[in-house]
Subunit: 520 residues, 2 copies
């Protein structure tokens, strides 16, 4: 045993289960040979990015920027930045050899849903976007793109603008820094007719947990010319099982672009708009949850309603006129309703949310919405809570009341949006808290925990979640004695017998780690 | 041993592999107890429906109405008609006990793709639609339906018409007798904006190969109110792996209906229209493949072009006018193009294809298209060949030439349609042959066999196939050393360790039956 080896101590590392320091170091040594030493960083508690440095454009990859439990609860043991599909496959094989779990991220900006951090402490973050960030192909005629994980909405938009594809629009979620691939894989949503991102993807390349590489849809037909054109290919269509899952690492994703867009309305409450402009303290001296009267006053002050629909009409002028007539005459029957066009609203002294939404509805990525994170404190954090309901007023009201009650009980102002999907409402509830205050964290976490059960009792389930609640949500999707979870576990054990890929993602634990106390 | 048992001989039955007559009879006895004796029929060669009896409305379930190999190549050993999800689960468990393979059908009208018959000779056909044929729910507000497998387009249309849901439209494929569930599971297509049937489904109930029952999407959330509204639910989205597969038996399927439809154009060649009206003999005395001049003459005679686009405009009158202007001015630049409206075309002496398509484009199910099956002989049969390509003129031409060359080589007239999907062309080629003539069958089969390879060389792959070509097509989708097929086999072995569900479907064989010579 060499002196260097002797001095390796478990306490020096953030070790994953079943791995001692020696074999962790051996794994890192082998993985370093694959990616080069500049692309592998071993994390220690001391190396955690300080709270003062971390922000949207300088994201910690080893922990959750918006941590709601302890800062090091979901801490990674290392961060690795592969440069190619072959790198990824080689690392996956080594992960199997050493039982080191991997947690893939694309841009890692999954803020409000756990950020870049792994569900299982000690997992290695695989930063798929750091070096694999190319737009691989744009098909002008069919309006499609083939992307690597690191392509953000900003970079895709810039690429289209600068390379002669200005006629192709993209759908961007509220923040432009996320990964087009990562957002689609987590089944995120935007605001144009292409806002349902997962359904607009077409074709994947995936590294399986055994290191094997597959291409889905037409991609498995060599020499095909329709990988980004036809989703299904032949036989079982697997893409869905690689979303919100731990069955594979996506290395390429096709996505459809908009040649000729339509519209998807969102309905936002007063405070989300108010919070985009300024902190709560600028509106009210109250340290308490705002009363209805106070919210009314804020609405008046910033010139919006208690609920505000933002939308856009697309198509040739005469078409838009006709559509506008229908919308206007329908919605004006709502007592007190009024309309504003971006062009008619003063941009002075500063741009209004209406102007910001106009960009979003044109597919121009931006970061205005970061504003509302700071509602109650500087460097505010977000916990996202996103139940799904039918598109009825009764359901929207019931959800609103359900959330407001718990929020007020725990001292939070209700901030939220309803997004109208194909047939359902995404209710996007934004709980902003102060991560530097343990009590704020505790209240935030407990509030969402209770809401998940409140919602389930009323038949509402979440479409997506923060890592801290993955087990709980999987446990409410429990029809027929948890048959879905058991089905997922069967697939997991078949595809990932050593349990190395993103253990615990979506509540799915591999056999090796199941029922050993890692569930929260 | 009782005299009855002694007299059981293997030769009396169409036994599946690994099952002798005694254990087959024991399996049937147990299954009979589940469904009642009137719902279980054991098949013998003598019981095969005679060719003279079988037709669209009197379908053989034990063999392929349009057999292209021998009539008994894909023969079933029995037909069972379960009456409930519990029946299905019980039968699946017995199938595991006795190693008896099951082949689920919904209405069994998968004509051109193998009909009702199983891929593996001796499998038991599970007629899911015979008794499980209820419309379980219609949600007027959200325009959705929840269906059992036996609901056909005709019966769904009738149900909506007769139960106060006339404002809800359906998308019907060319023939209205198919199952809404079965067609979606085989990823079939129709002609309105809801024509991509699988993407319009929402929520499944599935009996897994071990007898376990799951509900997908929001269905796994007890008390949910969004099972037919939101496709994904939480975690991995599995629905795709139950399409064109043998991973589960679908017992309920949600589907989206059309409150306010748009349009999906198809481009049909002359002969498909000509064939709808009459047999080839009425147009030409030639026994040979028709020449270009002869096809021109037929086009003139029936008043259509060599290629004909059928489509519809939807929405309020002023919108339609504007859309019509755009379409008209764009398409009139094609030399020789002309337009016809259904209202302007005489229905005398008989209705034109234009009138028939008008119904289809209104979602009214019908069976006019059965007509073209008889192009060269009475009771003609169909082999479907359906490659996918980009939506370009060059690809359409290349495909047309590719198919025409092989068709003429084997003595068939080209009959086909191009359907424009989201981003791709479905080329639907209709090879009509005379199943009573072994030479016609041989030519048909060989012709498609060669075309699958021709297409693959040009990068075209099929979106769906007849049972006779399942292995071949799986083998051309072979990127990276057949990684997709191996991935499917991994899933298959995990979900169906005894290999009892639809062995060979989409080229996927369970471990027990793999590489034992059942592949074709
Ligand atoms: C103010 C604010 C507004 C927001 N608005 C929106 C919005 O409008 N719409 C919306 O959808 N979200 C929104 N979010 C949430 C989040 O910022 C975005 O969804 C963001 O795009 C996700 O981060 P990412 O794209 O970098 O994905 P990543 O964090 O890279 O990936 C997301 C998850 O997908 C999985 N994953 C990523 N890459 C891979 C891979 N290659 N293989 C396998 N699995 C992978 C991982 O589990 C990962 O945790 C908002 C957040 C904030 C703070
Ligand atoms: C003249 C003509 C025109 C046609 N036009 C069209 C068209 O426009 N569009 C089109 O899509 N097709 C068309 N077809 C093909 C076919 O008729 C239809 O697709 C028909 O709907 C399929 O039959 P079915 O719905 O009864 O499905 P089934 O035969 O019941 O099912 C189809 C397949 O799905 C699987 N399956 C069925 N039920 C289940 C279940 N419960 N669980 C698991 N798997 C199951 C089975 O493998 C089965 O083989 C046409 C055929 C002809 C002859």
């Amino acid at each position: 045993m060499s002196p260097a080896q002797e001095s390796i101590k478990d306490a020096d590392f953030i070790l994953p289960p079943d791995v001692d320091a020696k074999s962790f170091v051996a794994a890192m040594d082998e993985m370093r040979k694959v990616v080069g030493s500049e692309n592998l960083e071993i994390i220690t508690a001391a190396k955690m990015m300080p709270d003062s440095d971390g922000h949207y454009f300088n994201l910690p990859r080893e922990h959750d920027l918006f941590y709601c439990l302890e800062k090091d609860t979901f801490l990674a043991s290392a961060v690795i930045v592969p440069g190619s599909v072959e790198d990824v496959s080689a690392i996956v094989k080594l992960a199997n050899k050493y039982l080191v779990p991997l947690w893939p991220i694309s841009r890692g900006r999954n803020l409000g849903y756990g950020g870049a951090a792994p569900r299982l402490r000690g997992s290695v973050v695989l930063d798929m976007g750091g070096r694999m960030n190319k737009v691989l192909n744009i098909d002008d005629e069919h309006a499609t793109a083939l992307l690597e994980p690191g392509v953000s909405y900003f970079s895709l938009y810039g690429y289209l603008q600068n390379n002669g594809h200005k006629h192709l629009w993209i759908d961007s979620p509220d923040l432009g820094g996320g990964s087009v691939v990562g957002n689609a894989l987590d089944r995120g949503a935007g605001y144009t007719p292409y806002g349902e991102h997962f359904s607009m993807h077409c074709g994947m390349e995936v590294v399986l947990p055994n290191g094997e590489i597959i291409r889905t849809g037409m991609g498995s037909l060599p020499e095909n010319n329709t990988w980004q054109l036809f989703q299904y290919g032949y036989g079982p269509y697997p893409d869905g099982i690689f979303s919100q899952s731990n069955f594979g690492i996506v290395t390429k994703l096709g996505i459809w672009l908009m040649p000729d867009p339509g519209n998807a309305p969102t309905i936002r409450n007063t405070l989300i708009d108010a919070a985009v402009y300024a902190q709560k303290a600028e509106y009210s001296l109250s340290k308490e949850v705002l009363t209805e009267t106070e919210v009314d006053e804020i609405a008046k002050k910033i010139g919006v309603g208690r609920w505000n629909i933002y939308g856009a009409l697309y198509g040739p002028e005469p078409m838009r006129k006709l559509q506008w007539e229908v919308i206007r005459s329908t919605l004006m029957t709502v007592p007190g309703a009024s309309f504003q066009f971006a062009a008619d609203v003063e941009k002075e002294p500063k741009a209004k949310v209406l102007h910001m939404r106009e960009e979003t509805l044109k597919g121009i990525p931006n970061t205005y919405e970061l504003g509302w994170l700071d509602w109650t404190c500087k460097n505010g954090s977000l916990l996202g809570f996103s139940p799904i309901s039918p598109v009825t007023g009764a359901d929207a009201s019931r959800q609103y009341e359900m959330v407001k009650r718990r929020f007020h009980e725990f001292g939070f102002d209700y901030i939220g949006t309803f997004v109208v999907g194909w047939r359902e409402l995404h209710h996007i509830v934004c709980l902003t808290f102060d991560k530097t205050d343990p009590d704020s964290r505790r209240r935030a976490h407990r509030c969402i925990e209770l809401l998940i059960d409140d919602a389930a009792k009323l038949g509402y389930g979440e479409y997506r979640t923060h890592t801290a609640f993955m087990d709980q949500i999987a446990s409410v999707y429990n029809w027929n004695n948890n048959s879905t979870l058991r089905f997922n576990e069967t697939l997991k054990d078949a595809l990932d017998p050593n349990g190395i890929l993103a253990p615990g993602k979506s509540g799915i634990w591999p056999k090796r780690l199941r029922n050993r106390g890692f569930e929260i």
